[in-house]
Amino acid sequence: MSDRTMEKSGRAQAQIFRRVNRDILATLQRPGVGWAAMMAVVLTVLGIGVIAEVYQIKVGLGVAGYEPPVMWAVYITDFVFWVGIAHSGTLISAILFLFRAQFRTAVYRISETMTVFAVMTAGLFPLIHLGRVWYFYYLVPYPNERLLWPNFRSPLVWDFFAISTYFTISSVFLYVGLIPDIAVARDRARTRFRRRLYSVLSLGWQGTDTQWRHYNRAYLFLAGLATPLVLSVHSVVSWDFAMAIVPGWHSTIFAPYFVAGAIFSGVAMVITLVVPLRRAFGLQDYIDEYHLDRLAKLLLLTSSIVFYAYLVEFWTAWYSGSDYERAVFWDRAFGQYAWAAWIMYSCNCIIPLALWFRRVRTSWFWMFIISIFVNLGMWFERFVIIIQSLAHEFEPFQWDYYTPTWVEMAITAGSFAWFLMWFLLFIKFLPSMAIAELKELLPPKLKRAKEEVEKA
């Protein structure tokens, strides 16, 4: 092949790369009315949530709907929900990276940011639900003259470590992955502020061979580090329940069941976010039905695991012969919280059965709808596990029925607003797709050309 051909091919390649840069960086342009309107809504809802929380701190936790024996309720439901959402991010970015599953490239940045923000949201709830939040630091193992340490036997302390570790690793992982892309943004930044910002954040990235080599190693190792966390964090969260003696909680299946559920809900949330994003920024060329189909299959797989876990729970309750277990599960299916349980079973097991059809899997509309249902169903899964089990415990005298108050609803809505606020800021400040990795996926014409040159 002649030099000319090579040059031509190289130019074409550069053209494509430029287009990738342009398309992705277009998301960073000055926000439009739609974005501003969404931000306004989000900030309003967040404001209401903050007011509710301040009111709750001032007056007491009683302004929430807690009705003993239901001592944990919507806040812990929200906590587990958001931790669950956080999970698929790392799954997609780290595990699928190690498995070299190429479909992840288009969506992994979104899912990773989702992870970080979801952990940031989840981390609020253990504080919100404390009776005396102003003493939250008692949970932190800090050295003190009284030699008072947290109780390392308590799953809540494990939780503290699991969540903080997860937050650290996943934000470092997100940041490392962002470095080359920030450099691209730096190079194309129009305003001084942005240039400054991206210069600092890109850590002097030049795209040299050495930098790329180090970068790839680091990314691989971080992926390796993050991988076990995908399994461990939600296992630890599940032990908040499984370690207790509450019938309906005390079950060995909880760790795998929660991990599968977390991935299930996380993938659903990725779909919920990607579908509108793709439309809003015209990223149809980068995220297409192929990606959607893969995500849908992941959803289907995890839905089946969750379905299986539900069945096993009932089986175990029956097979254990324990009156208490049986009573709880009978009550779950047919008792006062049956409405919530059946929302959960329909959304998590029945509706995802539609994913067996390829046409559904590749339909943006239907996938969006299903993902919303799955999100709802997974929220109710935690609601049912936590509240229904507590409401129907050992002591029949203390059986009761809990309903949330406006404070809990406001804070829950506020948590969504908090999450979306960060997400909206993110898509306007940092590339929400992995530019460098997208380029890697393009047919490596340049490389081939080089080989041909050598051959020649």
Binding site: P68, G131, L139, N151, L156, A244, F394, F397
Partner: protein, 1011 residues
């Protein structure tokens, strides 16, 4: 309490003590301890013996004060009435003392408003007014009336003397006066007295509507007697007695019966009559064969015969009716029970007049009816009302309030602004009993003394003092005696006691003892049935009434219930609620929040309906129905209750106040509004029963304020029962037939020895309890005692609606279907189990709850951050969370126990086994050397101390000789939810059922579909 408040308090009480009860020094003057008062040591409680005046029973009390403030009441162990025990009302008595809405000083009505009036002015003005009225009415006696509640002893004497001297008349009005019992006793054995019923000595007790474990005459005494007769704890192989209740409603008393015979309202005494007939009473009883009585009452004739045989075979006593059977035939009913007692040989044996209960004065309702008609005609010029609230407790149809308006001068001595005070010109608040001198004669041979335990909280004055002032101001007059020489009420009282306590030493001894009990001094006077009764005629009444001059013969036809009939109508049963009695205790928030023993409802008035009836009417808990009797109507929420009959609805008395302060006003409704002013013709007593009501669904719905989740324990090992025969066999050394091997984690069966090892090996203690489900009657006295001892807040109805009550101990009431039909009621006290392997401990992230060296599961309030994980993991659900900063409106906070922390919002709390008492005992024992150990019985927990039936035994499980260790190691002991291997320190003793004869099927009682 804040440090500053504490210091202030010390100062104030110092001032009080230094000025020796002179009421003139206001609490503003702070005088430091230049010379410390001798009897106050900060930190050490001072106790005063006194008498409880929450109801006419007159239990002896020990009032605990700290730094000059009453903080707790306990029963006086020496008092023969209550033997150291108190009921819930007694335990909450100081909340009346500290009621923030009490009248804070004397007031006068001026231009439609109450204005402050000094005491001197008040006495002078009233004296002048009375003097004027007397001259106006031409000195006609009776123009001035002193209307009081039941009084005994010196105060009664003073009232009578005052009335006589001033040409006034004294009218006694007590809502629960038991006139029918007195009248029946007069008819049958010629003495209008309440005899002593020897429940303790009986083997078979049958009650015809007497709520003797709740409110009837002297409930604490009878509860103790009942427990000694009935409770089987497995420590001795002696068969215990049988108790049967014949009632139209499953009251708390009936729920403790081995058998509840459900009868149509107004017919329960026909069962007594038929039983008497079976026993050969003859006379009019002979007309009532079991068959005929069965038809009239709805009771199986075989049951009547079986009960009659039991009555004859055993040493028996039959108790005549209480308020819930006071219908227009109440006297006939009581006569019938007397006939049964006579036919069964109980007279002179278990029913004696050896020490008659002083009890209510006969004819009080009749007197008030006369008074009302006199008021209406304008004969009454002045009415002074003390210790009575007739506007509230009389049926509106009688027109007391309207008649009151005809009276020219109306004076109220009530210490709270109640419904009657609201009609009065003068409000001259009396001291509460805890601030007053006085005495009380609960029975002929017992005189309890009442001494002030602290200086008056407000500017109040003893009513006798006011009356003495008035008397002095008026002077003797022509026919009246001159005012007594004694300057004050105290002097008058002291003078009245001069023969019993001639010198100060003797007086001090009386004050220390809390009264004098002269059991030996009274010669037993055995009941002598009158001629008519001896002649075997049930119409003893007839003869007696004829003798008394007129009236009709006691006829034994069933009491007719008037009012609407047909579809959706029911006979109405109103009954005194255990905590609120006749409504006088409604201003005590602990009592408002005390769950009703039967329905577990607090803060509201409810309508009890049988679940099946409710289903037919489409009513669920909380549906508001309108109850209409034709005489009035009220609206209240429905509570489905298995102890209601299909043809009956029941409503509790005591709520529905318009006044009486923030805790009483507007809570619930007053079912008295439904009642016609009907009296029992024979005795003149008020007929609390006797109307039918129409129920209409209003469509409104309120949150039912029940504490109870499910009505059944669903066969879980919570409330366990064992048949009497089996219990006896085990107690006499028999082996368990099928030894349930509770082989748990460590392959060690759960025994008292195992549980005792759950404290440090160096610690001599492992505190524990043995709680007898058989003895527990569900009276909730422990709940009130715990509230007072441990500063438990009341949370109010809005929070009870969300089950956020804070009672560290609660009585779980479970129904269980009997194999032969009917229901068994179990009362299960549930409190922290202080588990050896406590599930709450490992889950707390900050070690706020941990196991202390004595094996207690303790809660560190300062460390708690409020994750509430401990509560989730507690299988017994005995941890309570401070959802808010609970308030103690001034001066209710004066009653807080300074030994116990008042908890902040956001922390968890629970039963501590009264750790402050344990530590107080430890401090004392420490002085006796390093190895000294707290001896058994050195202290008691608050719940154990007050339990009228001794159902709770607390002690050291490590001491094998202790009572608790012996009971816990006994054959009836079990652990709640034992299979969880939490190793609870509370051992329960099984409920002993199936005593004597097969129970009959009760079609009205089903527990299916509980919850």
């Amino acid at each position: 309490m804040e440090r500053r408040d504490f210091l202030k308090l010390i100062g104030i009480t110092g001032a009080g003590a230094a000025t020796a009860c002179d009421a003139k020094v206001g609490p503003q003057s702070l005088i430091p301890y230049m010379v410390p008062p001798e009897d106050i040591t900060p930190g050490i409680p001072t106790w005063y013996a006194s008498t409880c005046r929450e109801c006419p029973a007159g239990c002896g009390t020990h009032v605990k004060t700290r730094e000059g403030r009453v903080i707790k009441l306990e029963g006086n162990p020496d008092s023969p009435v209550n033997r150291g025990k108190l009921c819930a009302r007694g335990q909450a008595a100081h909340q009346n003392l500290y009621d923030p809405d009490r009248l804070k000083g004397p007031k006068r009505l001026q231009d439609g408003d109450y204005v402050d009036a000094p005491w001197e002015e008040a006495a002078a003005a009233i004296a002048a007014e009375i003097g004027r009225l007397r001259t106006q009415s031409g000195g006609e006696p009776g123009a001035v009336v002193l209307l009081t509640g039941l009084q005994t002893g010196t105060r009664e004497r003073l009232y009578d003397e005052w009335a006589q001297a001033l040409g006034a008349r004294r009218v006694v009005y007590e809502p629960f006066a038991y006139e029918a019992l007195l009248e029946a006793n007069r008819r049958v054995f010629g003495e209008a007295a309440l005899p002593a019923y020897d429940i303790e000595g009986a083997e078979f007790v049958i009650s015809f509507g007497a709520e003797f474990l709740e409110t009837w005459i002297s409930p604490v005494r009878y509860a103790g007697q009942w427990a000694r007769m009935h409770a089987f704890r497995g420590d001795e192989a002696v068969e215990k007695g049988i108790f049967v209740a014949v009632e139209p409603r499953l009251s708390m008393t009936a729920s403790n019966a081995d058998e509840w015979v459900s009868v149509k309202p107004g017919t329960e005494y026909l069962v007594a009559l038929a039983m008497a007939n079976v026993l050969g009473a003859g006379g009019e009883a002979s007309e009532w064969t079991p068959q005929r009585a069965g038809e009239a009452t709805g009771v199986d004739p075989a049951t009547i015969e079986r009960l009659a045989r039991l009555f004859a075979d055993k040493r028996s006593v039959a108790l005549p009716g209480g308020i819930s059977t006071s219908h227009p035939k109440a006297t006939a009913a009581a006569v019938a029970v007397n006939l049964l007692n006579r036919a069964g040989g109980a007279f002179g044996d278990t029913v004696t007049l050896s020490a008659p209960v002083t009890g209510p004065v006969a004819g009080s309702y009749r007197a008030i009816v006369d008074l009302v008609s006199e008021m209406q005609t304008g004969t009454i010029q002045a009415l002074l009302i003390a210790d009575a609230n007739p506007v509230y407790s009389l049926p509106p149809a009688l027109g007391f309030a309207e008649a009151l308006r005809q009276v020219r001068l109306r004076v109220s001595f009530s210490s709270v602004f109640d419904e009657t005070s609201a009609w009065c010109h003068w409000l001259l608040p009396d001291h509460t009993p805890l601030e007053s001198w006085g005495d009380w004669v609960p029975q002929q041979d017992v005189i309890g003394i009442q001494q002030p335990a602290m200086r008056p909280v407000f500017n109040t004055r003893a009513t006798p003092d006011v009356l003495l002032d008035v008397w002095r101001a008026i002077g003797g007059g022509e026919e009246g005696a001159a005012a007594p020489e004694e300057a004050t009420w105290y002097d008058y009282l002291r003078a009245a006691w001069s023969d019993r306590a001639p010198d100060e030493r003797a007086w001090a001894a009386v004050l220390k003892a809390g009264g004098i009990w002269e059991a030996a001094a009274v010669t037993p006077s055995y009941l002598q049935p009158t001629d008519a009764a001896t002649a075997g005629r049930a119409g003893a009444g007839a003869a007696a009434t004829a003798e008394a001059g007129g009236g009709e013969a006691a006829d034994f036809s069933p009491a007719e219930f008037e009012g609407p009939s047909g579809e959706g109508t029911f006979a109405l049963v109103v009954y005194p609620q255990l905590a609120l009695y006749d409504g006088r205790t409604a201003n005590r928030p602990w009592l408002q929040e005390l769950p009703d023993p039967a329905t577990t409802v607090a803060w509201q008035t409810w309508v009890e309906l049988h679940p099946e009836t409710a289903d037919e009417l489409g009513l669920v808990n909380g549906d508001v129905v309108s109850v209409d009797s034709g005489h009035g109507s009220v609206e209240a929420p429905v509570i489905r209750y298995y102890g209601a009959r299909r043809d009956t609805v029941a409503m509790p008395l005591g709520r529905g106040h318009d006044r009486m302060g923030r805790f009483a006003a507007g809570r619930g409704v007053n079912p008295i509004a439904l009642l016609p002013p009907t009296a029992d013709a024979d005795s003149g007593g008020f007929a609390w029963q006797g109307v039918r009501v129409q129920l209409t669904k209003t469509g409104a719905k309120v949150e039912p304020l029940t504490f109870q989740g499910s009505d059944s324990d669903h066969g879980r090992d919570l409330a366990e029962a064992i048949p009497m025969a089996e219990a006896l066999r085990l107690a006499s050394g028999g082996a368990e037939e099928h030894v349930e091997e509770h082989v748990v984690g460590e392959d060690i069966p759960l025994t008292v020895e195992r549980v005792a090892r759950d404290s440090d090996s160096e610690s001599p203690y492992r505190w524990g309890m043995a709680i007898s489900v058989d003895a527990c009657i569900g009276c909730n006295a422990c709940v009130a005692a715990c509230s007072a001892e441990n500063n438990l807040p009341f949370v109010g109805p809005e929070r009870v609606a969300r089950s956020r009550f804070m009672n560290w101990i609660r009585i779980e009431r479970y129904f269980e279907e009997k194999p032969g039909g009917g229901v068994e009621t179990h009362h299960l006290p549930m409190l922290c189990q202080h588990c050896g392997a406590a599930p709450c401990e490992p889950v707390c992230p900050v070690y706020a709850t941990y196991h202390n060296p004595d094996g207690l599961n303790v809660q560190v309030y300062n460390r708690c951050v409020g994750t509430r994980y401990c509560s989730n993991n507690c299988p017994y659900k005995v941890r309570y969370f401070n959802w808010f900063q609970y308030e103690w409106p001034e001066p209710l906070n004066w009653g807080l126990n300074p030994d116990v922390t008042a908890r902040e919002k956001g922390v968890m709390e629970k039963c501590t086994y009264c750790v402050q008492r344990i530590n107080a005992a430890k401090i004392v024992v420490k002085d006796q050397g390093p190895d000294a150990v707290i001896p058994e019985g050195m202290f008691q927990t608050a719940c154990q101390q007050t339990c009228p039936t001794d159902a709770i035994v607390f002690g050291n499980l490590k001491d094998p000789a202790s009572r608790v260790a012996r009971l816990a190691g006994g054959p009836l002991a079990y652990s709640a939810l034992e299979h969880l291997n939490t190793r609870p320190a509370n051992f329960y003793l099984k409920h002993v059922t199936d005593r004597g004869g097969a129970p009959t099927a009760e079609p009205a009682a089903q527990t299916t579909g509980a919850h």
